[in-house]
Symmetry: C2
Subunit: 264 residues, 2 copies
């Protein structure tokens, strides 16, 4: 086992607000040791798609990625957002390296099989999707990989992939090489017992407590797949998973950050 690694995922709300984003990135840059950033898309892609006359298609709250929308996602996630994040991190002294899954063949995915719904160019991550050898080369050379949520299938096709899933897949794969901690940053203080009270952060959640909180509807909707991802990562060797407010990242190394998910 090598030294430690932090995989940090930043969500759309922070990406959409440049003041918040810069504040987060400064804190991320200050985090000691090896680290990887994974960023979601934010609302810019939807806005640019609309400006281009491309209609955003959703089924059951999931984006359908047709060819036009894939092009917009590639432009915005891997281009505009990724390069803005990377150049900002360089300003803060962090030697960031922006990546899609195609770059260095770091993350291969498969086009989601068509069953009831054709999700279009949505990429699913498989067990062997992550090229740990490539990513290790970047980390050992002193770079901080910054992943956008675009992968490829190895046959020349780019694919739009969920950023939470990318973060957990990276964490699980890299946990074989590094003691890996996964941190999901978003706009709330952590998992809240009362969604209207930011003071009601649940400090830690075990898998049993997770099931109970779902039954009690304390945890619902978008938090469920996020936490499913997180617990799966823990069961597959990730050391710790945290979920908390992006703007509190500086408190993480003092042990005061959001909700800590436990492996048992």
């Amino acid at each position: 086992m090598g030294s430690g690694l932090h995989i940090i995922k930043i969500g759309g709300n922070v990406i959409d607000d440049d003041v918040q984003l810069q504040s987060f990135l400064e804190k991320f840059a200050a985090l000691q040791g090896k680290k990887v950033l994974v960023h979601g898309g934010g609302k810019i892609a939807t806005r640019i798609a609309a400006d281009l006359g491309i209609e955003a298609k959703m089924i059951n709250g999931r984006r359908i990625t047709d060819k036009a929308m894939l092009d917009v996602a590639t432009m915005v996630y891997a281009g505009l957002t990724n390069k803005h994040v990377v150049s900002s991190l360089q300003k803060f002294g962090c030697d960031a390296l922006g990546l899609s899954g195609a770059d260095g063949n770091t993350i291969k995915a498969i086009k989601r099989p068509v069953r009831e719904i054709d999700y279009g160019y949505a990429g699913d991550i498989l067990v062997d999707s992550v090229n740990t050898l490539s990513i290790k080369k970047f980390l050992e050379a002193g770079f901080t990989p910054v992943f956008s949520a675009i992968t490829h299938n190895g046959l020349g096709q780019l694919l739009n992939t969920n950023a939470d899933t990318i973060a957990s897949a990276l964490a699980v794969s890299l946990a074989k090489i590094y003691e890996t901690k996964l941190i999901y940053c978003f706009e709330k203080e952590g998992v809240l017992r009362d969604v209207d009270n930011s003071e009601s952060v649940i400090k830690s959640i075990s898998p049993d407590e997770f099931e109970k909180l779902k039954l009690e509807k304390v945890i619902y909707e978008g938090m469920i797949p996020k936490l499913d991802n997180a617990f799966e990562a823990l069961s597959k060797g990730v050391k710790n998973v945290y979920i908390g407010n992006a703007l509190n990242l500086h408190k993480y190394q003092q042990g005061e950050f959001g909700t800590c998910l436990l492996s048992k």
Copy 2:
């Protein structure tokens, strides 16, 4: 002096035609040894800008990069085009790594000083712009860097930069580490004595002959800055500079490719 390195620049016309692009990329992937690809933008950025209602501003044939146009350039060059090229190269077995100048802090530029014209977010490359240490790490780790024409100023600002200039700056800087050859690929067979006759390729041009060909108006307009860049690269340590048809790249290693520019 280490082993050899090829820096290959591909222009807009080939980028715009995916059949030609794939044919070129397959040949590029097959080229033996260490290599770097630099790609221009093509017409997609202009089209997308128009679709977004952003007017392309030109003065003296040069693009003025306002904030809106910089965003489009970043989306298209560093996002859509770069990731399409990278995923295609991966398909052809080349371990491509897409980069802007911000990634790994590979190329820093300065915002072009305002004199008679304010070019906006146009980046000029300086003598020490290229971070050869970063690029060497990528090359030695087995990656093939693929540069889009976006750089940064190190202070969080992305800049739109001429791709020909990036190619020659990379060649000059990397010539200190590798025996470096620079190949400009475009849609013609080479420098032509008669622009309407593709058989009239001038096999080699010395600096003196270049001056003569300019006076005779055999070389004019867009070819002049391209060749100026090339001769400057030769005078600064680049071993050879070639200019020829992207689709003939497979003939390069047989010594049958376009026009060879001579250092004296």
